[in-house]
C-alpha cells in the first residue's frame, strides 16, 4: 500500500483515527509519519506525549496547519490556505501561527478548528474535563469514589453478560455502599462552611 500523504513511498505506519464518530485508517510511510509527528501521538483518547513533540510543539503544529497538512488524517491538502481573523481583537490566523499565542477569549471561537488540531497534539484531547466555571470543586475522594462506581457498573454489565448474577448482586451492594459514603463526604464538606458563615454573622 502506498503512503496516503506523499503517494510515493510504501506505507508502513497505520493509524486508526476517529473523526466525528467515523472510524478510519490512515497509512503513512515512515518519513511522512515522522514529519507530521504521528509516531508519538495517539489520535483521540488519552495520550502521553514524548518530549520531542512537546518542544516548540505549538509553533510546529501551527506550521503544519499553514502547510495545509491535516493532522486528523495526516493527508496533505494542497492550497488550502485559510485566512481567518478574530472579530473581537483583530488577531489573524497568520499572527497566531507566528506567535503561538491567542489575542483574546473570543479567538477560541474564531480559530476553533485550528485549535482543535493544536490541542490534539499538545494536550490530552480537545475537550475540557475539569471544574466548570463558578462550580465548587468536588474533593478528590468524592471524584475517585464516583470513578469506582463507574467501574463497578461496567463490571455488572460484564457479569450479567456472563450470567454471573451472584457477582452482579455483589457489585450492586458495593455501589450502594459507596453512594452512601459519597453523601457522607458531601455533608461533612458542607458543614465547616456553614460554621464559617454563622461565625461571621455573630462578629
Amino acid at each position: 500500500m502506498k503512503c496516503s500523504r506523499c503517494g510515493v513511498n510504501e506505507a508502513s505506519i497505520f493509524i486508526k483515527q476517529n473523526i466525528n464518530g467515523k472510524e478510519s485508517e490512515v497509512s503513512l510511510c515512515e518519513s511522512c509519519a515522522k514529519s507530521i509527528g504521528a509516531g508519538g501521538i495517539s489520535f483521540g483518547g488519552a495520550n502521553i506525549l514524548p518530549v520531542s513533540i512537546w518542544q516548540g510543539s505549538i509553533l510546529s503544529a501551527l506550521d503544519q496547519i499553514s502547510k495545509g497538512t491535516n493532522f486528523n488524517t495526516g493527508v496533505f491538502v494542497p492550497g488550502k490556505a485559510v485566512s481567518l481573523v478574530c472579530k473581537d481583537c483583530g488577531m489573524t490566523l497568520a499572527e497566531f501561527r507566528e506567535k503561538g499565542k491567542l489575542g483574546c477569549s473570543k479567538c477560541y471561537d474564531a480559530f476553533g478548528q485550528q485549535l482543535d488540531q493544536v490541542f490534539r497534539r499538545i494536550q490530552s484531547g480537545e475537550t475540557h474535563r475539569g471544574r466548570r466555571i463558578a462550580e465548587e470543586p468536588e474533593s478528590i475522594e468524592i471524584r475517585s469514589a464516583q470513578e469506582e462506581i463507574q467501574s463497578l457498573k461496567r463490571k455488572i454489565i460484564k457479569a450479567v453478560e456472563n450470567e454471573d448474577y451472584e457477582s452482579a448482586a455483589k457489585y450492586k451492594v458495593e455501589i450502594e455502599r459507596i453512594s452512601i459514603r459519597i453523601n457522607e463526604m458531601r455533608e461533612s464538606e458542607v458543614l465547616p462552611n456553614d460554621d464559617k458563615t454563622s461565625e461571621g454573622g455573630s462578629v
Binding site: 481583537c89 477569549s105 490541542f119 499538545i122 494536550q123 490530552s124 480537545e126 474535563r129
Partner: protein
C-alpha cells in the same frame, strides 16, 4: 509566619508544592495585545473583586503596583517565587496581590490577565489547590471570566487552556544525583509529559539537586486527575531517592559522612559564599539530616536560608545595592547565623 517556615509532609524529599491557575476576563484582549489604559482598568476591576473576599484564612493581602517598585524589590519577589519575571516587564500596568504569609499571590496582567498561585511546604498539592481555587471561584462568580463550554478556561497560550492549572513540586534528589541516576529519571519524567526545571523556575538550571516537576497537560483531564497523576509520579521518584540514599549510606558511609561534615564546616566558617555554592552545600547538609547523620539544623532553617540567599534578597535585607563580592560576604554571615549551634 511565612509558609516556608514549616516543613510539611514528606519533607525528607519534597520541599514544596505549588498550584498555579490562569484566568482571563472577557471584553479585554490578552496582555500580549492590550493597551496600557486597558491594563490599568482591568487591574482595578480585578483588585476590587479580590478585596471583596470575606475569607481571611490566609491573613491580610498587600497590593503592589510593579512600576512603583525598585528593580531589587522586584527581583527579591521573583527569587522568593512570589511573582514571575514576566510580571516585572514594563509596558502594562501590572500588579501583585500577596498574602501576609506569602503562601498565596495573584499576578495581574502577566501572560494572562490573572495568575493565582498557592504554595505549601512539603507535599500538599490538595491544600494548595484548595487555596488557589477558592480565589478562582470567587473571581469566576464576581467577574466576566473567559470560559468556553468546549475548551474550559481560555488562556493566552494554548498550553494552559482548559483547567489553566499547573501543579508543581520541588524535590530534593541528592542521592539520585550522586549516583548519576538523576539524568535517567529526568528523561523518563519528561517522556511522560511532565516538565523538569531548576529551583529558580522557568529558565534555570538544576542547582543543589533541587528539581521542579510540573504537569504539561491542562486540557482533557480534570484538576483532581492531574493532581493525583502528579502525586503518583512524585511518590514513585521519592521512593527511588530514598532507596538510593539507603544504598549510599550502607555502601559508603565514610564518604557520605565526610561530605556532609565538610559541607557543615564550609557553611559555618566560610567568609564568602555564592548563592550557587550555598545551595549545593545546603543540599548535602539536608541529606545528612534526612539520613539521621546529624540532627541539626532543622528543615525549617534550610527553607529559611534558601528563601533569603538570592542576590536581590541579600541586598534587600542589607538595604542597599551591593557588588557580588560584598553580597557573598553578607550571605556567608547570614548562613553562619542560621548554622549556630550545629
Amino acid at each position: 509566619m511565612k509558609w516556608y517556615i514549616d516543613k510539611g509532609p514528606e519533607s525528607d524529599v519534597i520541599l514544596s508544592s505549588r498550584i498555579r491557575l490562569a484566568r482571563n476576563l472577557q471584553g479585554y484582549p490578552f496582555p500580549n495585545r492590550m493597551t496600557r489604559e486597558a491594563s490599568a482598568k482591568l487591574g482595578k476591576e480585578v483588585l476590587n473583586s479580590l478585596k471583596q473576599r470575606t475569607d481571611h484564612s490566609k491573613g491580610k493581602f498587600r497590593t503592589l503596583e510593579m512600576s512603583e517598585l525598585g528593580s531589587e524589590d522586584k527581583l527579591a519577589l521573583v527569587e522568593r517565587h512570589l511573582i514571575s519575571e514576566e510580571l516585572t516587564d514594563p509596558g502594562l500596568v501590572r500588579y501583585a496581590y500577596i498574602s501576609d504569609d506569602e503562601s498565596v499571590s495573584v499576578m495581574i496582567n502577566e501572560e494572562d490577565h490573572i495568575r493565582i498561585q498557592a504554595m505549601e511546604a512539603g507535599l500538599k498539592l490538595e491544600e494548595a489547590y484548595k487555596a488557589a481555587s477558592d480565589i478562582a471561584i470567587h473571581l469566576e462568580k464576581t467577574l466576566q471570566v473567559g470560559y468556553s463550554e468546549k475548551y474550559g478556561f481560555t488562556t493566552a497560550c494554548p498550553s494552559n487552556t482548559g483547567t489553566g492549572m499547573r501543579a508543581s513540586v520541588i524535590m530534593h534528589l541528592p542521592a539520585l544525583t550522586m549516583t548519576e541516576k538523576a539524568g535517567t529519571v529526568v528523561e523518563k519524567i519528561r517522556k511522560m509529559g511532565y516538565s523538569v526545571r531548576g529551583y529558580y523556575g522557568e529558565h534555570s538550571s538544576v542547582q543543589g539537586s533541587m528539581f521542579q516537576i510540573s504537569n504539561q497537560i491542562t486540557l482533557g483531564l480534570g484538576e483532581e486527575e492531574l493532581i493525583v497523576d502528579l502525586k503518583k509520579l512524585i511518590s514513585h521518584i521519592a521512593e527511588q531517592e530514598r532507596t538510593a540514599r539507603k544504598q549510599l549510606s550502607s555502601k559508603s558511609p565514610d564518604l557520605i559522612e565526610d561530605r556532609i561534615f565538610r559541607a557543615i564546616g564550609v557553611l559555618k566558617y566560610a567568609r564568602k559564599l555564592s548563592s550557587e555554592e550555598t545551595l549545593q552545600l545546603i543540599s548535602e547538609v539536608r541529606l545528612g539530616k534526612a539520613l539521621g547523620i546529624i540532627d541539626k539544623p532543622d528543615e525549617v532553617n534550610f527553607n529559611r536560608i534558601m528563601s533569603s540567599i538570592g542576590p536581590a534578597n541579600i541586598q534587600k535585607s542589607e538595604g542597599r545595592i551591593m557588588e557580588p563580592p560584598e553580597r557573598d560576604k553578607a550571605r556567608a554571615l547570614l548562613v553562619q547565623r542560621e548554622m549556630e549551634g550545629v
